[in-house]
Amino acid sequence: MTALSALIRRDIKIALRVGGGALIGVLFFLTVVVLMPFALGPDLALLSRLGPAILWLGALLASLLTLDRLFMADHEDGSLDLITMSRTPLELACAAKALAHWLAAGLPLVVAAPVLGLLLNLDMAATGAVALTLLAGTPALTFTGMIGAALAVTLHRGGLLMAVLVLPLSIPVLIFGVAASQAAITGPLSFGAPFSILCALTLVSLVIGPFAAAASLKHGLD
């Protein structure tokens, strides 16, 4: 247990210090959202209708962008080998790393979402709904993305290949995240049903992600 908490604390520290780059994700999120009115035109009614989708897309892309840091830096300096060889089960270590990554890179996106909601003319209820769905959904993005990150690090290929592998897996999260936020804003469907499915997706990814990532690390590293 102490090993896992030490791992989490270490990863958060590294992510937040100079060279960590966790907060670049938030900056990217902001930039993507700011780009949207330039493409769509500054029609506030349209922006508020598309707002939840824009915020979700921005968060998805931002979390994808920071994912390759999850294992790459540790692989480069050799600490990933120590983690795989340690007595702590690799699955738990992967879960701990993903949790730390979410706390450092995913949670800031959730916190930033209400501020960006103001720019997109979302009202209080809509902003709250989007922030709530992001809070429930971004862990799923991190934990499924971890599979892609583990594959990428074992193949020494990052970037585009990882995006191609991870994005199809994150489509269900996107669908239900946006559906729940839209339901909260406009109705007529209930907020509860898509939101529960979103939570279920997150729970499933919490189980599948660490096992799949650990399997690919075990089989792939040499």
């Binding site: 193949l155 290949l161 199809p168 489509i171 799949a212 690919s216």
Partner: protein, 243 residues
């Protein structure tokens, strides 16, 4: 003859060379029967002649999921038993599965235009099959991105097993969500709702398409084994030149 005996690629090549002509013949005969029966099947009272798209569309859709299932079993073979032919099977199946999935989407879209009035609808069945298609492409990109086949095999195996979660979602999407795509009508509790005049040609076509897949898959596996041999011979030759 067990699965272990097939682990020797030379023995596999010899055996598959003997089986393959029979498979080709069986596929051609069954496809001919199926196509004839489909062509002579009566028109539907509502859909008219467009119902015949079903005889191509449904087998393709079944195969798109079946091939991922085959790849998942092969992936287990790679990760758990380290069967040397498992990754060959998984790699050879991916482009074939992608082709079946693409044809399922294409024929479905051509069928949807006269029936639903639209080529594409973002309902759960169509979306989940599109995700399947994207995952096939991602898997093929993964195979192509890595030079060492055994390293690529293990990464692809993990991804295949994760992607297998999509299969039940596709199968049950029409039951779980209220979709434009019709719910299951052949494999369902309480028997098929399809009339015999349509069901029999459909089943023949399904078997024919499955045989087609087995034939193509076997041939692709042989090609992959030979390709790897050529590659290792080339490497040996290059090594000899350098020395």
């Amino acid at each position: 003859m067990s699965l272990i005996d097939l682990a020797n690629p030379t023995r596999f090549l010899a055996l598959s060379a003997r089986v393959l002509p029979w498979l080709v013949a069986a596929t051609i005969i069954l496809l001919a029967i199926g196509l004839y029966q489909s062509a002579t099947a009566p028109d539907d009272y509502q859909q008219g002649a467009t119902v015949k798209i079903m005889f191509i569309h449904v087998p393709n859709a079944w195969l798109s999921m079946f091939v991922w299932g085959v790849m998942s079993v092969a992936s287990l073979g790679t990760l758990v038993w380290r069967h040397p032919l498992a990754d060959v099977a998984a790699k050879a199946a991916a482009p074939i599965g992608a082709a079946f999935t693409f044809l399922a989407l294409l024929t479905g879209s051509l069928w949807g235009r006269p029936m639903w009035g639209t080529y594409w609808e973002w309902d759960a069945r169509l979306t989940s099959v599109l995700i399947l298609f994207l995952m096939y492409l991602g898997l093929m990109a993964l195979w192509r991105a890595v030079e060492d086949p055994s390293r690529a095999a293990r990464a692809a195996a993990v991804l295949t097993l994760v992607g297998a979660l999509n299969l039940p979602i596709i199968k049950f999407s029409v039951d779980w969500w209220n979709t434009l795509h019709q719910p299951a009508s052949v494999m369902r509790m309480g028997g098929s709702t399809l009339d015999k005049a349509f069901l029999i040609p459909l089943l023949v076509m399904a078997v024919a398409f499955t045989l087609l897949f087995v034939t193509l898959h076997l041939a692709a596996m042989r090609n992959e084994i030979l390709r790897r041999r050529v590659r290792s011979l080339q490497m040996m030759q290059a090594g000899r030149k350098a020395a």
